[in-house]
Symmetry: C2
Subunit: 295 residues, 2 copies
């Protein structure tokens, strides 16, 4: 596949995704809550997780309606986690996606509620009255709940919280990031694959692809945190360093961290080959975009 | 049914419920997260929502395993909402169920994460690998997500937040409480009923029972807030008054509020009769306990 075909697929996918998410996040939620939810979820972000869901679904020729709902659900979980993570009691950050963070724009209480409501909405969009088979609804809810909760994202954030000012070894750092970022990226791939019929072996390969890509994403994040400025990132640069948080760069050094990112990309691509699926080109190019991104 | 049979049913149900919840809330979640989740969810509270789920399931002779999971899920949503609601940016409360609130005991960041993880866990316990039919899993997730989110509990809290220091009419106050407290209590009844086979008419009657009971609960809460002290309540008494929040007592006056509670109990019981179900005695006595409670 040529790069411009991939770019076109990304553009078309994002157009459909943004329209669907815009439809699903309620403008009419009471007392400004809808406004805060929409501020936090619409019109920003790289939308990597939705693209992974949609590309994975395409690789298994799955149910596109279900995958689009899954893409919205995963992004809502990601977006809510950013809202809560930015709050004063956590990272106390004021800039996100080039805009004031949600609590700066709407106040802390509304930001917390908006995050809470976005998590509930994620499960709401996975369980429509019609359009997705009930068994698939249940499967998607199961995958999302496990990746968002204590054993996934929230658990990773708790480790992150406890690790400030401490030196971690690479193994502990890897576990933290696997939970904090990796599990939800991996779940995006697995949820997309769940929207189709796929052999257990192929599903396992896609899951391995997701795991490698998820880790690569975090390694690159840590690299960009020290090599880019805030304007390019759209969020505060150098904040991990300032907060004395352990990162791949602080644990491994900059060049070895870059080497690890390349190695993880190779692992991700090897898993795609191992899946035996014919059309994995979007997933392969998404791995490239994760490792080569500049923000 | 005699009162002592009901008491025995409550005791046995709560014993089984506490054991199940204890099993499901992970002690091993990383970096103190599990400890905070368990602190916030185990060993306290009236457990009204779980009892409603179990009584409703019994009324329709439903699947008891599914109902017990639903009972845990609903209570996890309720408990997480208390954790977030007590935080400094919301009600800033230090006492809950006779203990220091979760953020006082574990810090604000861990409390926020614990609440977030408890919401995810609610959907996790509804979607086990086996033991609940997938279609029922999906139905329970759908009901829970809608009652917890923008159109339910979180939406009600946003209205509550916006209403501080303002005078509301009874209609707006009723809408706020319907969302904030009523919808989740009603969902408890509806989720219990979903665990069995029940006619559309009976399901609708049970839902009406849940709506009346949910509102009665809040009216009584407002009455107790001005008539009881903190020791009896296990939480800070008079706090709504202090916060200048509109309540049924401030809007209607104390005696009319007591009259409304009685009227809602009668409505709830009339709905049980209308359901045509044979064994609604537990639900009927739960309505009594809601209106006659002293804390």
């Amino acid at each position: 596949m040529e790069a411009k075909d991939f770019d076109r697929w990304v553009d078309q996918s994002l157009l459909a995704f943004e329209a669907t998410l815009d439809d699903l996040v309620p403008a009419g939620a009471p007392a400004g809550l809808g406004e805060a939810m929409r501020y936090a979820s619409l019109g920003g972000g790289k939308r990597l997780r939705p693209l992974l869901v949609l590309a994975s679904c395409a690789a298994v020729n799955g149910d596109r309606f279900a995958a689009m709902r899954a893409a919205c659900a995963v992004e809502l979980i990601h977006a809510y986690s950013l809202v809560h993570d930015d709050m004063p009691c956590m990272d106390n950050d004021v800039l996100r996606r080039g805009k004031p963070t949600t609590h700066v724009a709407f106040g802390e209480a509304q930001a917390m509620l908006a995050g809470d409501a976005m998590q509930a909405l994620a499960f709401e969009v996975l369980t429509p009255d019609s359009g997705i088979a009930p068994a698939l609804q249940a499967r998607l809810c199961a995958l999302l709940a496990r990746s968002a909760g204590h054993d996934g994202m929230a658990g990773g954030q708790a480790i992150d919280l406890a690790s400030i000012g401490r030196q971690l070894d690479e193994c502990t750092l890897r576990d933290m990031h696997r939970r904090k970022t990796g599990v939800l990226l991996q779940a995006s791939v697995v949820m997309g694959a769940a929207c189709g019929d796929v052999s257990a072996g192929a599903a396992q390969s896609l899951s391995a692809y997701g795991a490698a890509l998820g880790l690569a994403f975090q390694v690159v994040d840590d690299i960009l945190d020290v090599t880019q400025d805030s304007v390019v990132l759209g969020k505060t640069a150098g904040k991990d360093q300032d907060a004395n948080k352990p990162t791949y760069v602080s644990v491994l050094g900059l060049e070895p961290a870059k080497g690890l990112a390349q190695q993880l990309r190779a692992e991700a691509k090897a898993a795609l080959v191992a899946s035996g699926l014919a059309d994995v080109s979007h997933l392969s190019l998404l791995a490239d975009s994760v490792v080569e991104r500049v923000n």
